[in-house]
């Protein structure tokens, strides 16, 4: 249907513009000789009468025409061309020769003698070729290209197409070369001898040949779907390239066969194909573009290939390999392909190689940058990849690309609530190190790190983690301490190990006129760029915050740490303080210095008082009893004996201190109250022997330091306790409140007596002494919460068990313990450990403080809302910050909690939209 429509439109078209192909004559002798006719608009008889010779000539021409066309005719259908287009051409007779000569160079050359445009033989032949192609060749080609070409057949299809077209081209051009051209050559030779050489150069046989060839090539080009062709060719070139460079990217069998193929064979095959394609006119722009695409893809594949994997082992950059490849592998291949396709290469040679180098480097760099985050995480091992990026940064635009893409990776993979602060800090340190390697000036780092720093500032636990990590000794810390969920960063601790450098950081470098090594800031530095010693990780961490915020946080953590610290020399702490003093200026760090000095002083005072206590025995109320063993000889076993003997002899433990006291080493940390963070101040009764010891210690202290007194803080401190049970001895390090609780489980005077005498020894011993929570609260005057925490601790240690609800008993004998009790103990141990962690913090947390000051805040809020009407939560927070003495150091969440509590109390009402008001009665 489409063809008929096509024909129709052709007919209409040709009615207006005569097209040779439509008036094409079939070269059969049966065609009646055209006797000519009058052209429209011409006097009907004029030509006929005035031109009798023309009349004759026309007849003669027609005869010659029939002969020549019959001779030159080409097959019109595929069936004719079966057997490889071999056509049995009739023998070239004299008659044909003459007819050709007559039509080509003789009088019959063209029929325009009478002003009538008649078809010349050359034009006819051109049409003949066209028709031949349409009839005999195009169907074959179309069949090949009808469907998308599968990759496996790409080579074959191209080669087959090329073969067909080549044959066709030969077939069409041979008559021209053999029969037409010689005549024309002869004629032009003779005519050029006489005149008009210029004219002939255009219409000479060579020009005609070229024109003919061009026509044929155009036919070929239009017969093949251009897009599909270029894709196929592109694939073939790419495939060849992959094989040549042994890139095994394709899947399936082809890759294996491709691998085994000899590269030389492939090179030859490709060269031939390209050359042949160029010969049949398929090597033009399309092929060039296809080639460009293929080479482009080839380069990309090479960069992704195993040749250019990151060098994880020897940690070298692989850029030099890439450059060698581009120079010795890629460029020659491109040149070869272009040469085969007969492209003009002259104008590109020089700069092109450099361009390719840059292009390849750019791609490699971008591919590396896309994985930069992983390199950062695996820093040190990933040095090879980083060095690649370093090379890449020499290109223009590379920095911009790196910054934007790395920032994206960071915000997607790092700065989300799922990442722990420790993790972020560790990554940040890696980022610092990586970028120090990438660009020592630090401009890039500054840009990249800005979001990380901002995010870290927002996290509340950042400062705590940094400072406590700085204070951790990496050498004696167990591995578990730095576990994934831990709050200590191994990286920071390791940084602390490094010797301190660049102490004169604060010197104003711009005003140092004598600095002969001065250099201007990098041109791409931002306004707030600060020159820094890039490898100083701690500097980066300490400059995260405003100085004051950091110092406040530092005070709290430092204080807590000092109270817990076991290191007798406090080297680390002293060093950290010095370090921070250098970084942040020492004017604000008074509190920290005082704390440190308190601790050091306490050590001296302890030593002094201890010598006093031993050398001046009268200071203690009770002299050591005579049976105390001498200080010589093996100590421990004797001590145990002594103790157990005292137990038998003396009924009540309260009377024991006289004997036991010298064994207890009481040491104290004496603090300057105004400089320490708010500490725990739970009040309870500590064991009597200890309080007696403390009293004597205080007397000693007052003797040494005049005019001063000590206020003991029972909730702080730690102790090492030895429990002697019926079947075992347990030694535990406990906090003071835990120790006080277990001390309360000792038999009171009377109880012990009753136990040993009244009910019978075995029973009472097996049961152990029981106390309930209320009793303990009363005995120790301790908060219920603290009592329960302490009990849980001892249950976890399998020293106590909960015999009834809220009643606890000492486990004197482990063998009496049933398995369920053991399970309980295990569960309690876990709970106790968790609680102990919480309880162990000596400094009051902000939440504790909030609870404490709840009353103050709520009163203030009620007053404010009464006076000024309803307020949104933001404003309430702001007013609290301004107006409450001591400020309001809490955020929106805490405030919301507080307001919620007040609503529950019935004092406030939530009016919706975050606005609160006083509840009206």
């Amino acid at each position: 249907m489409t063809t008929s429509a096509m024909d129709h439109s052709h007919l209409i078209f040709s009615a207006l513009f005569p097209v040779p192909s439509l008036s094409h004559t079939t070269p059969t002798p049966s065609a009646t000789a055209d006797l000519g006719f009058a052209q429209p608009g011409e006097p009907f008889e004029g030509s006929f009468v005035n031109n009798p010779a023309g009349q004759h000539r026309t007849a003669r021409r027609n005869i010659a025409w029939s002969t020549a066309t019959g001779f030159l005719a080409l097959p019109k259908t595929t069936s004719d061309s079966d057997g490889g287009f071999r056509v049995h051409r009739p023998l070239k007779t004299q008659e044909v020769e003459e007819a050709l000569r007559y039509l080509l160079v003789g009088e019959g050359k063209s029929g325009d003698a009478e002003g009538v445009k008649q078809e010349g033989l050359l034009e006819w032949y051109r049409d003949e070729v066209r028709l031949h192609f349409a009839g005999a060749v195009r169907p074959v080609v179309t069949e090949l290209w009808e469907k998308p070409v599968s990759l496996q057949h790409a080579w074959d299809v191209l080669e087959e197409t090329q073969r067909i077209l080549q044959q066709d081209q030969d077939q069409c051009l041979r008559p021209f070369v053999e029969h037409i051209a010689p005549i024309l050559t002869q004629s032009s030779f003779s005519s050029s001898m006489t005149f008009n050489a210029n004219d002939d150069s255009q219409n000479g046989p060579e020009a005609l040949y070229e024109q003919m060839q061009r026509d044929i090539h155009a036919l070929f080009a239009y017969s093949i779907p251009e897009r599909r062709f270029s894709q196929t060719l592109g694939y073939v070139l790419y495939d060849a390239g992959c094989n040549l460079f042994r890139l095994y990217i394709r899947q399936g069998k082809t890759s294996e066969t491709g691998a085994s193929e000899d590269t030389r064979a492939i090179r030859v095959r490709m060269t031939n194909l390209l050359q042949n394609l160029a010969r049949v006119g398929l090597g033009g722009d399309t092929a060039q573009k296809a080639c460009a695409h293929a080479m482009d893809k080839l380069m990309a594949s090479f960069i992704e290939s195993h040749f250019l994997k990151v060098d994880w082992y020897s940690k070298q950059s692989i850029v030099s390999q890439l450059q060698t490849w581009v120079e010795n592998g890629f460029a020659p291949l491109v040149h070869l392909a272009m040469e085969c396709l007969q492209c003009d290469l002259t104008d590109q040679e020089t700069s092109e190689l450099q361009q390719w180098q840059d292009m390849a480097l750019g791609r490699l760099g971008r591919a590396r940058v896309d994985n930069l985050f992983d390199f950062v995480i695996n820093w040190a091992k990933s040095l090879g990849g980083i060095l690649d990026i370093k090379e890449y940064l020499k290109l223009p635009d590379a920095k911009q690309y790196l910054v934007t893409h790395f920032s994206k990776q960071i915000s997607r993979r790092l700065l989300h609530p799922g990442a722990t602060t420790t993790y972020i800090l560790n990554v940040y340190i890696s980022v610092i190190r990586v970028f120090h390697e990438l660009e020592p000036k630090g401009v890039l780092l500054e840009r990249v790190a800005r979001p990380i720093r901002r995010y870290l500032r927002e996290r509340s636990d950042t400062a705590r983690i940094i400072i406590s990590s700085l204070l951790t000794d990496i050498n004696d810390a167990q591995d578990t301490k730095f576990g994934p969920g831990s709050e200590l960063s191994r990286e920071i601790a390791r940084e602390m190990q490094k010797p301190m450098t660049n102490l004169n950081q604060d010197a104003d470098e711009d005003l140092n006129w004598n600095d002969m090594n001065w250099q201007p800031l990098p041109s791409d530095a931002s306004l707030d760029y600060k020159k820094s010693k890039m490898d100083d990780v701690i500097w980066f961490l300490l400059t995260l915050w405003d100085r004051d915020d950091f110092i406040t946080e530092m005070k709290t953590i430092f204080g807590e740490h000092l109270l817990k610290c076991q290191d007798p020399e406090y080297e680390k702490e002293i060093r950290l303080l010095e370090l921070i003093k250098i970084r942040l200026g020492d004017d604000k760090l008074q509190a920290c210095e005082v704390m440190l000095r308190d601790i050091l002083d306490s050590k001296r005072i302890n030593a002094a008082i201890r010598t006093n206590l031993t050398t001046v025995p009268p200071s203690t109320p009770n002299n050591p009893p005579p049976h105390t063993p001498p200080n010589f000889g093996p100590k421990t076993p004797q001590l145990r004996q002594t103790r157990s003997s005292t137990k038998h002899r003396t009924p009540a433990p309260t009377s024991v201190p006289g004997a036991a006291k010298p064994e207890i080493t009481l040491s104290a940390q004496i603090l300057s109250s105004n400089f320490w963070p708010t500490l725990r101040d739970d009040i309870f009764k500590i064991p009597t022997p200890i309080s007696e010891l403390q009293a004597s210690y205080a007397r000693q202290f007052e003797a040494i330091r005049g005019m001063r007194k000590l206020d003991w803080i029972p909730a702080l401190g730690d102790t090492s306790v030895v429990l002697e049970l019926e079947d075992r001895t347990v030694e535990v390090n406990a906090t003071t409140f835990q120790a006080s609780i277990i001390y309360a489980f000792q038999a009171q005077p009377g109880e012990e007596w009753a136990g040993s005498k009244g009910k019978g020894k075995s029973k009472s011993k097996a049961q152990g002494i029981t106390r309930n929570v209320e009793q303990l609260e009363e005995m120790l005057q301790m908060d219920e919460g603290l009592v329960r925490q302490g009990l849980a601790f001892w249950v976890g240690k399998s020293v106590l068990r909960e015999s009834h609800q809220d009643t606890f008993a000492v486990i004197e004998n482990l063998s009496t313990l049933s398995s369920s009790n053991a399970d309980d103990a295990a569960a309690a141990q876990e709970m106790a450990e968790a609680q102990a962690q919480a309880a162990a913090s000596t400094v009051k947390s902000q939440t504790d403080l909030l609870k404490e000051k709840k009353g103050l805040y709520s009163q203030f809020i009620v007053g404010m809302l009464t006076n000024q009407g309803n307020m949104p939560i933001m404003k309430i927070g702001m007013m609290l910050k301004i107006a409450v003495p001591g400020g309001f150091p809490y955020g929106g969440e805490e405030l919301k909690g507080l307001l919620g509590w007040m609503i529950e109390e019935g004092r406030l009402a939530d009016l919706g939209g975050g606005v609160y008001g006083v509840r009206k009665a």
Binding site: S672, F675, Q694, L710, D711, T719, A739
Partner: protein
Amino acid sequence: MKVTFKSWNAVAFWRWDMPADDVCGICRNPYESTCSKCKYPGDDCPLLVGDCNHSFHMHCIFSWLRQESSQEKCPMCRQRMSFNGLPRCLIQEV
């Protein structure tokens, strides 16, 4: 069960043997804190109790007494400032 303590690390705050929660009349800092010039509290920045029973940081009261306008009087009660057993000349030296 018998409980024995091997060691006991206690914590205490020291304070001047003065009425609690009082501040130096000059610098308004607590006695246990330092005067405005000192770094370390305690022995480095001791208190001085005048015969009028008003007490100050030593550095505070000395720098006050060195001013002519003070006329060597206690800033609180305007009595003549004197310290038990402390020669006047020492003040001049300090």
